[in-house]
């Protein structure tokens, strides 16, 4: 993640004074991070694009509440994450309501979500890993996405999640354990049997 810089500080001041044009600095800098994080959390391209844009709009409307000494991205990440979690909950609720009592699959198991089509340079193993990531709990998927897809350090993840580094390492441990289990179950053996 880029560190806070003078350009962001100036843009933030202008945004607070009601200039939407100044917000372009933040959008250009973080739009790809926002899209890929949302994609990792909700598993659908269209939803990810829409949610990431909505997060920027909400960030602009609330930028007056961001303390001047705080960095933009961790704050923005909270908005994006909350939107994605809220979206997932609505999706689960609608899915449960529509099936009304039948055994309903997790959203990640539904065909439109965590489809391997979004994986670059696809092969069987990459497809499986992506689909297994989709089956993780939200909080475990989140740390995997931030670490592996955003290449964030533990310190940056801790800042974005408003927790300490110990919590990050602990979540990563359990997330990877679970991912390993999911991949091994699908294969019928341990991770070491994989090519």
């Amino acid at each position: 993640m880029p560190s806070v810089c003078q350009e962001e500080i100036i843009a933030m001041r202008r945004c607070r004074r009601g200039s939407p044009e100044a917000f372009e600095v933040f959008v250009n800098r973080y739009m790809k991070n926002a899209y890929f994080i949302a994609l990792g959390l909700v598993g659908n391209r269209e939803d990810a694009m829409d949610l990431s844009q909505e997060a920027f709009i909400r960030a602009y409307r609330n930028i007056k509440y961001l303390k001047p000494d705080r960095r933009f991205f961790p704050w923005f990440y909270q908005i994006l994450k909350n939107l994605c979690i809220s979206h997932l909950r609505k999706r689960r609720y609608r899915q449960t309501s529509s099936l009304d009592g039948e055994n309903c699959p997790e959203p990640s198991a539904m065909t439109d979500y965590f489809s391997p089509e979004v994986v670059a340079g696809r092969n069987e193993l990459k497809d499986k890993v992506w689909q297994a990531i989709g089956k993780l709990d939200d909080k475990h998927r989140e740390v995997i996405i931030l670490r592996h897809f955003q290449n964030m350090s533990y310190e940056q993840i801790a800042e974005a999640l408003y927790c300490n580094k110990g919590t990050v390492t602990s979540r990563l441990y359990y997330a990877r354990k679970r991912l390993e289990e999911l991949l091994s179950t699908g294969k019928g053996g341990s991770i070491n049997d994989m090519p």
Binding site: E24, S86, T169, R176
Partner: protein, 148 residues
């Protein structure tokens, strides 16, 4: 310390996030613990295959239009709010007026009156249902207060 206590250090070791002292401490433990050594090897393999997964980047055109989409939505949002409030108020007013006229008008047949009234009631139920759903999510949304 038990093997379980080393799990945090194992993650840090795997992701190159340890200080020299922590690294030395973990390597010392690893030298005498085959269980942790095996677990680390499995995690290494998992990390390697997970790192290989990259996601398809949307076309350049999407990124070029990205800011325009946000800017337009910011600009239009105020207009939409005013428009929506006015539309709701006018619809409610119109609905009441229509019901009033229907009841008073003796030239309209009873069946048509009932049909129109049922239509209005149906629309009202749909509106209340959507409103209730929104309220339900809003009240139970633990994340509604974004931490700043």
């Amino acid at each position: 310390m038990t093997c379980h206590d080393y799990k945090d250090l194992m993650m840090g070791y795997l992701d190159n996030e340890l200080s020299d002292e922590q690294r030395r401490q973990f390597e010392e433990h690893l030298a005498g613990c085959s269980e942790c050594k095996d677990e680390l090897e499995e995690f290494r393999k998992l990390k390697a295959i997970t790192d290989e997964v990259t996601l398809v980047e949307p076309e350049d055109r999407i990124w070029q239009d990205y800011w325009d989409g946000i800017y337009n939505r910011i600009e239009r949002s105020v207009g939409w709010i005013v428009f929506s409030v006015a539309a709701i108020l006018l619809t409610i007013y119109g609905g009441f007026k229509l019901i009033e006229e229907l009841i008073k008008d003796e030239t309209i047949g009873m069946l048509l009156k009932i049909g129109l009234l049922v239509l209005i009631v149906g629309l009202a139920i749909l509106f209340v249902s959507v409103l209730r759903e929104r309220l339900y999510f809003w009240q139970r949304d633990r994340y509604k207060n974004v931490r700043r």
